[in-house]
């Protein structure tokens, strides 16, 4: 037994001694093969992967093997085993930044601060005048939240290296980590002048600025002379900060050259990805003006439509069609023009457009155009013209809306069961139908038809007539009427309705809104006392209402107006 153990020990020693010798003899192909096999085993058999990486630690395989060992040992909780291997690697390649970085990361992970600083010093001695050791050290300090220490390292290092600008990005990162946003944005601007490719890093770092600190960032990035990379960073920041209108303005004053157009395109794509059509519209429109590209005009039109500017969309889509081939124009521009006309309530013009292209399009295209035309008629409340199209195209949303116009509430309910819930035209009908069991109501149909036709006076009359008949939905109907009156500036008629909602239907979902709108009307009439009373009533009666935070803010304003605290 003892003999067997001795043999095993001897054999393992021989293997251990000969292992490195064999590794040293590995050629490039063999080393690569070992690394590839180890990579495959990293997740499933990390210990086996470690054995292979160790065998590959020679010649050309050293760097990938060392990095592989760093990953494997970290996952196995054996990162300290890496240190002797790193020391050997440094003896072989004392100027290798990768090897030195592995050593620093390892010591940092083990929290051996004294050894870490000694390792940094050793690296600095090996590569005098170079910035890499300081940059890596500062990065590790920043990652561990020691931004003040990173700042000190970089400040000292700036005096020791050949080109202090090497640290500009790191200094900017440090300033951002310390929430010194004025300093951070100033330094990022400087950094971008010689390394514009770092703009994504700048965006990430500066995006964390909050509140008034953002104004400091804006000031620095907008400063003269106008510098495209800085403006590009600010434009993205404004998108991240949900300021789409400000975002495009960041490019103001930039010379419209090829670089600018490339930056605009990147920005426009980003705005689209973030669903910020206002910014996207401005960018694509500028690109179109500069390049004349029809595709840009179409993208701009699409964004304009999404941002609620149908007239602009129509103009851009028409301009695009003029430069496109007839076929492409029919395919890409005409549907946009049609949607724009529908959104503007110009159903007759939409019909004329469809008629003008009817002979030139294939049936499937015609069906798509007629669908837009159907919605154009429905949007303007023209049930008669919409009906044949609704019947032919058989869409649940359209069927439901038409049934509402007809006052056939049961039919509308049935159609809404399968309808797309995101259709904004159906929001009010859905809310009403969920709170009344009436099967038929011509008055409700007339009210919604009048609303669609933008006939405010008729809509008001019908809504007021409907209210007594709709049971639980009465406050909803009154609120619809009150909103119309408030929107038209008629507080004298709106306030009695809001009052009625608050007093007669105090447990309805519309009651908090009633209090808030009543208060706002009082503020407009410079009646701070009433406004305070209504807002306090809202906060005390409906403390969990989504309107409570807004009511608190408006209460502060009301108190300032009334001169109380």
């Amino acid at each position: 037994m003892i003999r067997a153990q001795t043999l095993a020990l001897t054999a393992s020693l021989v293997l251990a001694v000969t292992g490195p010798l064999r590794a040293q003899e590995l050629g490039t192909a063999a080393a690569d093969s070992l690394v590839l096999r180890a990579l495959d085993l990293e997740d499933s058999k990390p210990r086996d992967a470690a054995v292979l990486y160790r065998r590959a630690l020679s010649g050309t395989g050293m760097i990938p093997a060392l990095l592989g060992l760093e990953r494997v040992y970290t996952n196995l909780g054996m990162i300290d085993s890496l240190l002797p291997l790193v020391r050997s690697a440094i003896r072989a390649e004392p100027r290798s930044g990768v090897v030195r970085s592995v050593q620093l990361r390892t010591l940092s992970a083990l929290q051996r601060d004294d050894e870490l600083t000694a390792a940094v010093r050793d690296w600095v001695r090996a590569v005098p005048g170079e910035a890499a050791p300081f940059k890596e050290y500062a990065r590790l300090l920043l990652e561990s939240g020691r931004s003040a220490a990173a700042d000190s390292v970089l400040t000292v290092a700036s005096r020791m290296v050949r080109d202090p600008r090497d640290f500009s990005a790191e200094l900017a990162q440090v300033a951002a980590a310390q929430r010194m946003w004025h300093e951070a944005s100033r330094r990022w601007r400087e950094t971008l002048t010689h390394t514009p490719q770092l703009y994504q890093a700048a965006i990430f770092a500066l995006s964390l600025a909050t509140g008034v600190a953002r104004d400091s960032v804006r000031t620095n990035l907008l400063a003269e002379p106008t510098w495209l990379p800085a403006r590009r960073v600010l434009a993205s920041l404004e998108l991240i900060w949900s300021q789409p209108r400000q975002a495009w303005l960041a490019f103001s004053g930039v010379t419209a050259d090829a670089d600018a157009v490339a930056a605009w395109k990147e920005f426009a794509e980003e705005a689209d990805a973030r669903s910020m059509p206002v910014a996207s519209r401005d960018a694509w429109a500028a690109i179109y003006r500069k390049t004349g590209e029809a595709t840009s005009a179409l993208r701009a039109a699409d964004a304009a439509l999404a941002s609620g500017e149908a007239a602009t969309a129509l103009q851009l889509a028409s301009a695009a069609q003029a430069t496109l081939s007839p076929q492409l124009g029919l395919r890409d521009a005409v549907p946009l023009r049609l949607r724009s006309l529908a959104a503007m309530g110009r159903a007759a013009a939409a019909l004329a457009l469809v008629d003008s292209v009817r002979p030139k399009v294939v049936p499937i295209q015609l069906q798509l155009l007629e669908r837009e035309l159907m919605w154009a008629w429905l949007r303007v409340g023209d049930a008669a013209r919409a009906r044949p199209l609704v019947v032919r195209l058989d869409e649940d949303e359209a069927t439901a809306l038409l049934a509402i116009y007809d006052g056939d509430l049961d039919k509308a309910r049935a159609a809404l069961r399968n309808a797309d819930a995101s259709n904004t035209l159906l929001l009010s009908p859905r809310a009403l139908l969920s709170r009344t069991t009436l099967p038929m109501s011509p008055t409700i149909g007339a009210a919604f038809t009048a609303l669609a036709r933008r006939d405010t006076a008729a809509a008001l009359t019908q809504l007021m007539n409907t209210a007594p008949d709709v049971g639980d939905a009465a406050p909803l109907v009154l609120a619809m009427a009150a909103r119309l009156l408030t929107a038209s500036g008629n507080d004298a008629r709106a306030v009695p309705l809001w009052t009625r909602i608050v007093t007669e239907y105090s447990t309805s979902p519309e009651a908090p809104e009633g209090d808030l709108e009543w208060a706002r009307a009082a503020l407009r009439a410079r009646d701070g006392g009433t406004a305070i009373a209504r807002l306090e009533h809202l906060l005390l009666t409906y403390p969990t209402s989504a309107l409570a935070p807004q009511a608190r803010r408006e209460l502060e304003s009301a108190r300032r107006m009334a001169g109380t605290s």
Partner: protein
């Protein structure tokens, strides 16, 4: 008779909890609006309702009487309150008896004065912002009122950004051409003459002396930002020219450092004045020197000390918070170099990893003072002209809580320190 008496006694005891309902105002993370909770407590004291500050319990909770007025205000302000009956309160008191907790009775709403010029800009004062947001009333006082002796009408005096050396925070260096600065200088010079002083430094020294006497006679003084450092300099330098030529027409006394009478000061001793009129620093009291690029220290974090609630109730009150480590923020004076602090100065918060204190406190005569470095806890790099902080965006700001702790501290029934 005996049976009847016992029955009545039982009824009275059973009915007592119904008449003694309380509202617990938690100040830990369960609280939705920490800053307005101070206003809620202050308003209860204004109505002469008794209140208690439960030190270290749930972030420094308040215990208020359950009255319609308190419930109403809590609802309007969005302050979280927990109705607490006698049983629940007994459980709280039992828990508090066994740990580092204490209940401090709050007896009256202190009368608050803020030393602020009539034309103060909105970016000038974090305390005004805090009190306005919390709904705590205050009176503004300025040089004429202080010189006339009006401070004795108030229990709490707050100073913020004022330069009591009369050098306008040395903004002369950077802002001498700015209209707001020119107006400020003109106004202050005219004020000094009107009050019978030959120059602004002389006026400000006289104001500082009134404030020193106010504390000595039992007042509570809370100062932030540049007011902390310059008040100390003005008091210790009462009999020496510590101002540069642009402020009083004569250069600083070359031996000013040696002539300072630090025994008169509240917190500091053996500090060194900055002799150059062109360096935007007053002395080496401030550890961060934000306006001197070569000396400026980076911002980090500062940590609140934990005190024994039962043995040291005053520092415990001043450090009640739902966070113990806070992000730092600059001011004309950001921090206090520990080597310049007097031995009796209590450090309430220290700058992590640096030999600096952020928040200090001490007694002086019959009164007490507290200094907090920095300008605006939610605007780390506060700049002249920046928009005032909107506290509705920071209703649970731990930094602003430190300011409001000082407002309620004078409301507490005084207890001598036991350590």
């Amino acid at each position: 008779m005996g049976r009847w008496f016992r029955a009545m006694a039982f009824l009275l005891i059973a009915a007592a909890p119904l008449a003694a309902q309380h509202l617990l105002v938690p100040m830990d993370d369960a609280q939705r609006n920490h800053l307005k909770a101070y206003g809620l407590t202050y308003s209860a004291l204004q109505r002469t309702e008794k209140a208690e500050w439960l030190l270290n319990f749930r972030g420094g909770a308040f215990l208020l009487l359950d009255t319609p007025a308190t419930r109403r205000r809590a609802g309007i302000d969005g302050v979280s309150v927990i109705p607490t009956d006698a049983g629940a309160l007994a459980a709280i008191r039992t828990e508090m008896a066994g740990g580092n907790f204490d209940a401090v009775p709050l007896e009256r709403a202190p009368k608050v004065a803020i030393y602020s010029p009539p034309s103060a800009n909105p970016w000038d004062d974090a305390v005004t912002i805090a009190l306005d947001y919390a709904g705590i009333p205050y009176t503004k006082v300025w040089d004429p009122e202080v010189i006339a002796g009006d401070l004795s009408k108030y229990e709490w005096l707050h100073l913020h950004h004022e330069d009591f050396t009369g050098q306008y925070n040395k903004f002369y260096i950077s802002y001498r051409g700015s209209p707001w600065f020119i107006n400020q200088v003109n106004r202050t010079v005219a004020q000094a003459k009107q009050l019978g002083f030959s120059n602004v430094p002389a006026l400000k020294k006289a104001v500082a002396e009134k404030m020193r006497l106010y504390v000595e006679n039992g007042g509570f003084l809370f100062a932030m930002c540049g007011a902390t450092e310059t008040l100390e300099l003005a008091i210790a330098g009462a009999n020496v020219d510590i101002s540069s030529g642009f402020a009083d027409g004569t250069p600083m006394d070359a031996d000013a450092d040696q002539k300072m009478e630090w025994s008169r000061a509240f917190a500091v001793q053996n500090a060194h004045l900055e002799p150059s009129p062109l360096i935007n620093s007053m002395s080496d009291i401030d550890g961060h020197q934000v306006n001197v690029p070569g000396r400026r220290r980076a911002l980090g974090t500062f940590s609140l000390f934990a005190f024994s609630a039962k043995l040291d109730p005053v520092p415990t009150m001043l450090t009640q918070n739902h966070r113990s480590v806070l992000s730092d923020y600059y001011g004309v004076t950001t921090s206090f170099t520990k080597s310049t602090l007097k031995p009796g100065t209590r450090v309430l918060a220290y700058e992590d990893g640096m030999p600096l204190a952020k928040y200090i406190h001490g007694s002086y005569g019959k009164g007490a003072w507290t200094f907090l470095g920095g300008h605006d806890p939610e605007d780390p790099q506060h700049e002249v002209g920046a928009a005032p902080t909107d506290l509705s965006l920071y209703p649970s700001s731990p930094g602003y809580r430190l300011i409001l702790n000082n407002v309620l501290f004078p409301a507490a029934q005084k207890k001598p320190r036991k350590t």
